[in-house]
Structure formats: C-alpha cells, structure tokens
C-alpha cells in the first residue's frame, strides 16, 4: 500500500506535469506566458465536479469533457486576445499581461458559476472534496494510480503526434523557426491555434487532477500557478518534455518535502509548504542554470562514474 503522502504526491505531480507542459508549449509557440492557466485549471475542476455531482458516476468519465472545455477556453483566448496581439507584434510582457486579464475574467465566471451551483442546485460549491467520489484500488485511492497513468498515456500520445504526424512535425518546425516554416507553406496561425487547443486542454485536465488530491475551491488554480510556472522554469522553458518533467518533480517535491520535514522537524513546517518546491526550483537552477532540459543527461552517468573513480584512486 502506498503511503498517503506519496499517493497525493503522485496525483499532484501528474497535475503539475500537465499544466507545466501546457505553459511550456504555449510559451515556445506563441511567446506567451499564460497566466490564465490558473483559472483554466479551476474551470477543469468545476466541469468534473458538475458532472460528478449532478449526473453521477466517477469523476474520470468527465475528463474528456474537461479537456474539451479547456481547449475551448484556449481557443477563445487565442482568437480574442492572443492572435490580435501577435499580429501587432506585441512584446512578451504585453502578451503575458493580457492573459492575466483573461484569467480575472475566467475567475469572475467561476465565482458566478459557484453561485449558480449553490442557489440553483443547492451544492456546496466553494469547498469541494472530490476524493469522496473516488474508489479504492489495492488499498489505496484509485486516483493515485489512474491519474499518473492517464498523464503518461496522454503525454505519450502527444509525443507521437509531434514526431509521427505531418502537422506535429510542422508544429516542431514552427517552434524552431517560424520564418522558415512560413516560407515552407506552414500556416503559423494553425500551429498557434493547435497549441492553445492542446495547452488549454492540458490546463483544465490538470485542474481536474489537482482537485483529487486537495480541496477544490474557486482559487485552486490560482494557488497552484506559481508551481506550474516553477515546473516550466525548472524544465528550462524551451523544451516541452523539460516542462513536463519539471512539473512532475516540483509536484512530488512539495509532497515529499513536506512529509519529510514535518516528521523530522515538526508539524509547524506545514505552514511553509509552498516555499519547498520554489526552494527546490531555485537550488536546481543554481546547479543547472538552463533547467532540466539543458542538462546533457546522456553524459551524466559517465561523468558520475568518472568522478567516483577519481575519488577512489
């Protein structure tokens, strides 16, 4: 049986892998740091919650809908804000601030939607424990096994899309060199739109994941956005796979670190839990300034062995 901190850690880490991956994807395609990831994630949780509370069944069956809803929010952001700004060759800071505005709009929408759920359906929508809808699997919560598997399956599919399909390769080509991609006849607009569809979907799916490990509130995404960014930055910002790995590391580090310190140092550490993943990010960047994706992983074993041998002799 998995210890509870590890079970929750796996869920949260899978959620951050998806959201940090989405942030990275949007950044490398459209140069946009998407702050709206926060409320897109929260909307993902509310879609899953609405389905489960009103129509029954396990939360997992609503995940495809969650993804589609996130994609829709991404598409709205692209056509409403991002594309007009990209066409005017807006600076990165402008692109980023525009998503902050979009996030506030989405957050207001969430608050209204919570009121709707409360008054019309008599649901206690502002503090939701989604884990009560979960079931047990081998003595542990099913989410801690199913969610990492869903994340792995989704990311594997994404990898094959980027490597094996013509449009996927075109996306990689546009990420690397938009001018040459345009000259080759690849429509950059279509690539940016696809990133918002995928990135938005990943944000909402991540939000629905998150709520399986922690209390669902209208600010669940907003409370986690620093860690989504921490994951993306830890991954080096320029690599989708780096971002995914970074998110996973940050998520697991938060739960693992808190558990370790709370049992060794004392429960007062819990009050500082948010500092732990950020501290780990800062320390990692001090050692690997270009993030996890910037490390030449293939040469690591040789370097380590070389150093050990050096010590031995």
């Amino acid at each position: 049986m998995m210890p509870p901190w590890l079970a929750s850690g796996f869920i949260y880490a899978s959620a951050l892998a998806l959201t940090a991956g989405g942030i990275t994807l949007l950044y490398i395609t459209t140069r946009t740091f998407n702050f709206a990831h926060a409320s897109m994630a929260t909307w993902g949780f509310y879609v899953a919650y609405t389905g489960t509370a009103l129509y029954g069944g396990s939360p997992y069956r609503y995940f495809p809908l969650v993804f589609l809803f996130g994609s829709l929010l991404g598409v709205i952001c692209y056509f409403g804000l991002n594309r007009p700004l990209l066409r005017r060759q807006a600076a990165e800071i402008t692109l980023m601030m525009s998503t902050l505005g979009y996030d506030l709009i989405l957050l207001s929408g969430i608050q209204m939607y919570c009121d709707y759920l409360t008054y019309t359906h008599k649901l206690f929508a502002r503090r939701v424990t989604m884990s009560v809808y979960d079931f047990q699997l081998g003595g542990t919560s099913a989410a801690s096994i199913i969610l990492p598997l869903i994340a792995i399956a989704f990311l594997t599919a994404l990898h094959f899309f980027l490597v094996k399909t013509k449009f996927g390769v075109a996306m990689r080509a546009t990420i690397e060199n938009p001018v040459l991609a345009g000259a080759s006849g690849i429509n950059a607009d279509a690539v940016y739109l696809a990133s918002w569809v995928i990135g938005g979907g990943m944000a909402s799916l991540g939000g629905a994941f998150m709520a399986m490990a922690m209390t669902g509130t209208p600010v669940i995404g907003m409370m986690s956005i620093p860690f989504m960014f921490a994951g993306a930055i830890l991954g080096g910002l320029y690599s989708l796979y780096g971002g995914i790995l970074g998110g996973f590391v940050v998520g697991l580090a938060e739960y693992g670190g808190v558990y370790y310190l709370a049992t060794r140092v004392g429960p007062w550490v819990l009050g500082y839990r948010m500092a732990i993943p950020l501290l780990i990010m800062a320390l990692t960047l001090l050692v690997f300034p270009r993030g996890l994706a910037g490390v030449a992983w293939r040469s690591v074993p040789r370097a380590v062995i070389g150093r050990l041998r050096g010590v031995g002799t």
């Binding site: 013509k166 990689r172 080509a173 690397e176 040459l180 991609a181 000259a183 006849g185 690849i186 429509n187």
Partner: protein, 237 residues
C-alpha cells in the same frame, strides 16, 4: 515574372528600402548586390511578407502579393532560402525535406524528396541525422534542396555563400547556375560575394542605402570600373 514597383519597406518604424523598382525576368538569375546594411535581405523579407511594405507593390505573375503572410506567398510558387537558420536544426534531413514539401500531397512529397537526394547525393548519407549536425556546406545544400522541394516558379536565395570556406562557397554558387541551366529555374539571388554572383548572373541590381544605384546586365555592372571599385571590392586590373 516578379515586378516590384516603388517599394518602401522596413520593420516597425525602421525604414530600410526607399522606392525600389526591380524586375525579375523569367528563366534567369537576377542578382542583387550591395554593401552590408544596404537592405538586400529586407528586400527578400518584404517579398516573403516577413518585413512590412509601407508603400509600393509586389506583383508575381501580375498578381499583387504585397503584405500576404509567408505561407500564402509560398503557395503562389515562391520559395525562400534565408541566409541564416535556413534548415530546421532539430529535425532530421528527411523531415526537413518533408516540411519543405508541406504543401504537396503525401506521395508527391516522397517522390520529390528522393529526387532531391539523387540531385544532392551528399545528403543521402545523413537522411536520418538531425540537420543541426551537418557541416556548413551540407547545410547549404539541404537548404537549396528544401527550396526546390515545393516545385517553385521562383527561388529567392539570400547570401548562400556567407560563412562558407571559399572553395565550398564557389561550389554552392556553381550549384545555383546549375539550377538555371538544367531546370530553367528563375532565381533572385542576393549575394555579398558580388564578383562570383555577377559572373553567373543575367540581370543585376546594385542596392546602396536602400536605393537602387544600378540596374542592367550583370556583366555590365561587373565591368563598370567605378561602381565595381566603390561597392563590390573588385580591384582594377
């Protein structure tokens, strides 16, 4: 084939070209030479739609293409080989060719890619290698092959010989002449190695500080002692 009339262009507020007129006749090599910062690359970027045309027009086979986004310009049958970053370094050689033929139907892309590998046999050995690992000369060959992939009517080539060893640069320029002689390709070539480019060129323009200083036959420019000495680094005999 390509007509540029009274073109003023640049980037944002930066004005680079001042009322340029250029005519690229079909089936020949038109060479644009000039010193650094004259606006040669901006001219090509404006045709491709990555720099902004403030005034004037660009006509391709009589159809205005001024200000169209790059992928639409490409669809008209114009291919562009940029000076820097002219291959996708993270993609394999084969993927590079496939992307260059993005607009072609799938089976045609396959056929065209293997035709390119026959034409540039040096690339065949590296089909599955990332383009970023190729040498400068091989990369330039791949860039030309990519330019040819979509069966263009017009090729825009930007400073093909930059950063190459002289012997490799010469080979690349010879390759350009071959495109015209064997495939009847129309080419607009921007080049800093003015002498060599003018030797293979048919028509020539001298661009200085965003204005045309000479328009006429390539050999005439090469043999104009004053202009050749001032701008092209050609020493008098």
């Amino acid at each position: 084939m390509l007509t540029i009339r009274g073109l003023h262009a640049g980037y944002g507020k930066l004005h680079v070209l001042f009322g340029i007129d250029v005519e690229v006749p079909s089936g020949g090599i038109t060479v644009v030479v000039g010193p650094n910062g004259a606006g040669k690359t901006t001219l090509l970027s404006t045709i491709m739609g990555t720099a902004t045309a403030f005034q004037g027009e660009v006509l391709f086979e009589g159809i205005p293409i001024t200000g169209l986004p790059p992928h639409e310009v490409a669809r008209h049958g114009i291919s562009y080989v940029p000076q820097m970053k002219n291959v996708f370094a993270d993609l394999s050689v084969l993927e590079n060719l496939q992307m260059a033929g993005y607009m072609l139907p799938r089976d045609e892309t396959q056929a065209k890619a293997s035709q390119m590998l026959d034409m540039f046999p040096v690339l065949r050995r590296f089909v599955h290698r990332k383009a970023g690992t190729l040498s400068g000369g091989e990369r330039r060959m791949l860039a030309i092959a990519m330019g040819l992939m979509k069966k263009p009517k017009l090729m825009l080539l930007d400073e093909l010989s930059t950063d190459l060893a002289p012997i490799v640069a010469k080979k690349v320029i010879t390759e350009v002449a071959r495109l015209r002689n064997e495939l009847g390709m129309t080419i607009l070539l921007v080049e800093q190695m003015a002498k060599r480019a003018l030797e293979i060129g048919d028509t020539a323009y001298l661009l200085v500080s965003g204005e045309i200083r000479f328009a006429g036959g390539a050999r005439d420019l090469l043999h104009d002692p004053e202009l050749a000495r001032l701008y092209l680094g050609v020493k008098e005999a």
